[in-house]
């Protein structure tokens, strides 16, 4: 971690209010945050700064969170991915972990759990 510069967290959620809330929460935890309404917007954005961690909703119109993880893996992006879901369908957790995500949180989630996940993610060597 570079001294004086907080890690940048990307937040992807199609629900505007939850996206705003997540962004605020991440900033209150001491990180910088960049929000995107969907996976496509994230992929299209120029990443001039290194993204320390990605927090994404799983179910979104277009690419899902899991699709995004696979796409990033294919592109060689190694930033850890934290996934959030509102569903409880069977086999979802296995698929999430298989995709290489580091955390799965269920809505409504505990802020402490998100904090712990992000901490773990940014501490991990790139």
């Amino acid at each position: 971690m570079l001294v004086g510069v907080e890690p940048l967290i990307a937040i992807i959620d199609d629900d505007e209010s939850l996206r705003t809330a997540l962004t605020g929460l991440v900033r209150s935890l001491g990180y910088r945050a960049q929000a995107y309404p969907d996976a496509e917007a994230f992929l299209a954005a120029p990443h001039t700064q290194a993204i320390a961690c990605i927090v994404t909703d799983i179910h979104m119109p277009g690419l899902s969170g899991i699709d995004l993880r696979h796409r990033l893996a294919a592109e060689g992006v190694v930033a850890p991915v934290i996934m959030i879901t509102g569903r409880s369908e069977p086999g979802l957790e296995a698929r999430v972990l298989a995709s290489g995500a580091c955390c799965l949180l269920r809505k409504p989630f505990d802020a402490g759990a998100l904090d712990a996940c992000i901490k773990r993610a940014v501490a991990r060597p790139g």
């Binding site: 629900d15 939850l18 809330a21 929460l25 935890l29 569903r87 409504p108 802020a111």
Partner: protein, 649 residues
């Protein structure tokens, strides 16, 4: 002609023979008695006058001449000779000829006058008889005379014709008795006996049984002559046709009474002549618009009701309005009209005076015991009864029908409610997700707020922003819960002005998660600034959700991309909502039955979704139908009428 001449010749021969005998006899008698000229002349004068009574003037003058010759031969000297006599004898003879000629001429004159009179009288009598007979034939009335003492009965030809008798003018009382119908024979005999005893005028009607079993009705009047109490004169009239007409009238009247009484509808016969007077006054005061005038003057309408008197009602009316007590049938119709139905009464009066043939309306009426009923009120203004100030009113009690309709409406609402609840059940996961979003946001915001506060220097600006977001998310969650509650509660539909685009958006928010789960994309293309429709929000939610879920399910097996287009657009007097899918479409065989209850093509489907949609849309005064999209898939179209206040925007 010859016979007439011959007859006349015979008659002349007989007269002349008689004249010869008479004159010879006179001459012989005078000679035998030794009468002189003056006496003999007198005898001859008498004989000539007598002969003049027998035949014409010429014969008489011939007899005068013959008598003069006899006098000259036998009684004027020289006797037994026509020789000329003394001058004074010739003068006497001339005087005889002159006198007897004059007398004979006078006699003939007199006779011819008498004959003319007699002829005239005879012709007059004949004419009168003919006239009387004709009058009797025309009137069907005959005359008769009945002498009680002699038991003699005479009648006119018309009587004989009525009795179909060939007996002539004296049929005999037994013949008449024989023609009386056996059922009336007793009464007839009683009348005969009574008249013989009391000799009082009588009038009676009886039936005749004529040959060939023909029955006639006759009406008889008779009274004794003032100066001969045993001599009755009377008239007898054939009233069979009149009787038949009267019977037909009675039967028609009877049928009408039967209908009036026995129909399962309430009938009233009313006297509204008093109403005519009131309307007359109102018009005389210059009122043109009676409808508006009556609407503005309810007291006047009540007064007209009080002036509408009940003449007669049928049994159904007695049981429906009078509590079964016919004794209460009296007075005016006012007690039966609730204030709320004043306008119907007023409209019926206007219809009557503007000469409409009838008037009908559904309204509330009141029974005598204060119960209100739903009634179909009909008034019939037949010109002949209206002219007499009378009115026939029919009332059909439709309370049961109205109640059944209300019950049907309730059942329909309950059914729609049940369908909504069932739909909510199916959408539970989606709804939970929809509520979970703002809940998750609230939790994240609250945690952030806590951390902003926990900093060594609490960042109150961030805290304020966080709290604002919490409030917004709370409101969002609350709105979702409110919609779910509206769907779940059963309440009567409230048809108010509704922004259709907002309602469509709300309906879709129920389904966002559901659509995602099924991999279906929903696109809303809503026309801006649409006029509001008159609708119940929850029911419109139900219709849109139903159509979208249907579309989603129809596309379950279709290849991606699966897309639903929900659109709204102004269409004439309404707003059109369309839900289109890219599924397989609907087969022609299914299309016709699509809106029927329990018709379904889905395994486990109830087949109630579309019928409920239709019943909701139709209850809104709208239409629903389905079409094929040219590019494939189905297009459900709902048209709803625009709310009155927005109709001109």
């Amino acid at each position: 002609m010859d016979a007439v001449l011959l007859g006349r010749a015979k008659r002349i021969a007989a007269v002349w023979a008689l004249g010869a005998i008479g004159l010879s006899g006179a001459a012989w008698a005078c000679l035998a008695l030794g009468l002189h000229f003056a006496a003999a002349a007198f005898v001859f004068l008498v004989a000539v006058i007598c002969l003049a009574l027998l035949d014409g003037l010429r014969s008489s003058l011939a007899f005068v001449a013959a008598a003069a010759l006899c006098l000259l031969y036998f009684f004027i000297p020289p006797y037994r000779s026509f020789a000329a006599a003394a001058k004074e004898d010739m003068a006497a003879l001339a005087a005889f000829v002159l006198a007897s000629g004059l007398i004979v001429a006078l006699v003939h004159r007199l006779r011819s006058l008498t004959d003319a009179h007699r002829e005239q009288a005879r012709m007059l009598a004949q004419a009168e008889a003919a006239y009387l007979a004709e009058a009797q034939r025309l009137s069907g009335a005959g005359s008769f005379g009945w002498n009680l003492d002699k038991n003699e009965f005479v009648w006119s030809d018309e009587c004989a014709r009525i009795f179909e008798a060939k007996q002539g003018p004296r049929p005999g009382i037994d013949f008449i008795a024989g023609r009386i119908h056996p059922d009336d024979a007793g009464a007839f005999q009683a009348l005969v006996t009574k008249t013989r005893a009391e000799r009082a005028p009588f009038e009676f009607e009886t039936r005749l049984l004529l040959p060939g079993d023909k029955v006639k009705h006759v009406h008889v009047v008779a009274r004794p002559l003032p100066d001969a109490p045993a001599q009755f004169v009377g008239a007898l009239m054939d009233v069979t046709d009149r009787k038949a007409a009267a019977d037909a009238l009675r039967r028609s009247e009877y049928r009408y009474r039967n209908l009036f009484q026995a129909m399962a509808a309430s009938f009233w016969e009313l006297d509204f002549s008093g109403v005519g007077k009131i309307v007359g006054k109102v018009r005389a005061a210059g009122v043109k618009d009676l409808v508006a005038h009556f609407a503005a003057h309810p007291d006047l309408v009540r007064e007209m009701m009080r002036e509408t008197r009940v003449l007669d009602v049928n049994d159904e009316t007695v049981s429906l309005f009078f509590g079964g007590d016919r004794g209460k049938v009296t007075g005016s119709v006012e007690p039966f009209w609730p204030e709320a139905s004043n306008h119907v009464y007023a409209a019926s009066v206007v219809a009557a005076i503007t000469r409409k043939p009838s008037y009908a309306a559904e309204c509330r009426l009141k029974t005598l015991d204060g119960r209100e009923i739903d009634a179909l009120f009909t008034a019939c203004f037949a010109p002949e009864t209206v002219a007499a100030g009378k009115l026939l009113i029919g009332v059909i009690d439709v309370t049961e029908r109205v109640r059944a309709q209300a019950a049907l409406e309730r059942v329909r609402a309950e059914f729609a409610h049940a369908a909504r609840v069932s739909m909510l059940g199916e959408l539970t996961a989606s709804i939970a997700h929809e509520v979970n979003q703002p809940l998750a946001a609230i939790a994240a915001n609250a945690a952030a707020g806590q951390r902003w506060l926990d900093r060594p220097e609490p960042d109150l600006v961030e805290v304020r922003a966080v709290i604002d977001r919490i409030i917004a998310d709370g409101a969002r969650a609350g709105a979702i819960i409110a919609r779910v509650r509206a769907m779940a509660t059963q309440k009567p539909p409230e048809h108010g002005p509704l922004e259709i685009n907002v309602a469509i958006g709300e309906a879709l928010s129920f389904l966002r998660h559901e659509l995602q789960t099924h991999g279906v994309e929903a696109v809303a293309e809503l026309a801006p600034e649409l006029p509001r429709v008159r609708a119940d929000r929850t029911q419109i939610h139900q219709v849109v959700v139903n159509l979208v879920v249907n579309a989603m399910q129809a596309m379950a097996a279709a290849p991606a991309p699966r897309r639903i287009r929900v659109s709204s657009v102004r269409a004439g007097d309404g707003v059109e909502i369309a839900v289109e899918d890219s599924g397989p479409g609907i087969s022609a065989a299914h299309k016709a039955r699509l809106f029927e209850s329990f018709f379904t093509t889905k395994p486990g489907g109830m087949g109630m979704g579309l019928p409920i949609c239709r019943s909701i849309v139709e209850a809104h005064g709208g239409r629903i139908d389905v079409q094929d999209r040219p590019e494939g898939g189905a297009r459900f179209r709902v048209t709803l009428p625009i709310a009155q206040r927005d109709a001109h925007t």
